[in-house]
């Protein structure tokens, strides 16, 4: 068992505080609630379903809007369901795309069933194997009192380093309160598209 899991709400808030005008694509469940809790924005597109699609939707935005930074924030199981996306993304090499995987090693939304990243699957290693060189894991360092990552530096990597970038953040299996974005898909797509239209 690793120690020093990160606080997901604090991590996401700290990163999104530094987003500038980046577009954010949030995978379904807790990552969407985390992004919403950090502050709603027309530049956030939240999934409420379509599991496995967040990274590829982010790639689509990044390809259509190459001058816009795009951050995908999703969970470990959502990312694994779309794990082939890493190969597709690596082939396109979008310099403006970053993916933050909040890895709690469980299916947090459905009853905390154990996921596959606690026992065996290493998402950053899979991403590297698919051809994304800038793929790494933060958090979960062994030992008491680990300070965790420098959030400002991590945000800099996610928003400024040449992409594609994949960061897997080992976060605590926690029970934050719901912070729910609109469920109206037409509203979400209309405001997101309009916010990007000026590029």
């Amino acid at each position: 068992m690793r120690g020093a899991r990160l606080d997901r709400r604090a991590l996401v808030a700290g990163i999104l505080d530094r987003r500038g005008d980046a577009a954010v694509v949030a995978g379904l469940g807790s990552p969407a609630w985390d992004c919403h809790a950090a502050g709603d924005s027309p530049l956030n597109f939240y999934f409420w379903g379509a599991m496995g699609g967040a990274a590829m939707l982010g790639l689509g935005v990044a390809l259509a809007r190459p001058a816009r930074r795009v951050l995908v924030v999703t969970g470990d199981a959502e990312m694994l369901m779309g794990v082939g996306s890493f190969a597709a993304i690596a082939a396109q090499a979008p310099s403006n795309l970053a993916i933050l995987v909040l890895d709690n090693e469980a299916f947090g939304e459905t009853g905390r069933q154990a996921g596959l990243t606690g026992s065996n699957a290493d998402i950053a290693a899979i991403a590297r194997g698919a051809g994304i060189e800038a793929a790494f894991t933060v958090g979960g360092e062994a030992g008491e009192g680990s300070a965790g990552p420098d959030v400002a530096a991590l945000a800099g990597t996610l928003f400024e380093e040449e992409g594609p970038v994949v960061c897997v953040a080992k976060v605590a299996l926690s029970a934050e309160s719901g912070s729910y974005p609109p469920r109206d898909g037409v509203l979400l797509r209309t405001r997101f598209r309009a916010a990007l239209a000026g590029d």
């Binding site: 379903g49 699609g53 935005v61 390809l63 590029d199």
Partner: protein
């Protein structure tokens, strides 16, 4: 399944529909083509790959293409997703995304499992394609001849753009031709 007939059936009129669809892309504002390749799409895909103005995005599974096309449209650009009929079976849950969000998507589907199919593994999903798409709010365009594919594609693109409903052009096996397994059992 409410489509008991093996249809359509007939001859291609010999038009180079793959080139015609490719040539229509600039006029339709399409610069991104996502694909899990199929032999039936071969001509279209080779032209896309050779054109520096088209970004060909190779997928590992067809559902990635639906999510990608939704993303490009959110970024202001209609994309085309070019897949084989069996791949329609892989996109079912992801079609909830364009359905709920009313995002235009454009699919070009090369059919298997129709008349002259000799691989039984292609038949189950091939026969279900129309019903799967219709059940999930994708409107189906079915050109009768090779020369009708590019016009159907243009119509499906306009349909998607103007109505926010995904459109799929099914290119029948009578247009593409059947795959031979000569020498097999």
């Amino acid at each position: 399944m409410n489509d008991p007939d093996i249809s359509p059936y007939g001859d291609s009129d010999g038009s180079d529909w793959g080139e015609q669809v490719f040539r229509s892309l600039p006029g339709l504002g399409i610069r991104h083509v996502a694909t899990v390749p199929d032999a039936g799409l071969g001509r279209f895909l080779e032209l896309c790959e050779a054109d520096p103005g088209i970004r060909l995005i190779t997928l590992t599974t067809e559902e990635e293409g639906i999510a990608l096309a939704c993303g490009t449209w959110l970024g202001g650009e209609l994309a085309a997703v070019a897949i084989q009929s069996s791949g329609v079976g892989n996109i079912v849950n992801m079609l909830g995304l364009p359905n709920v969000c009313r995002i235009p998507c454009l699919l070009l589907v090369s059919m298997r499992g129709e008349a002259e199919e000799r691989n039984p593994w292609q038949i189950p999903v091939g026969r279900a394609v129309h019903d799967l798409l219709a059940a999930l709010g994708v409107d189906v365009f079915r050109p009768e001849s090779a020369s009708g594919v590019a016009p159907a594609f243009a119509e499906a693109a306009a349909w998607a753009r103007e109505t926010g409903r995904p459109g799929a052009v099914l290119v029948g096996q009578h247009i593409i031709g059947a795959k031979s397994f000569a020498g097999g059992d």
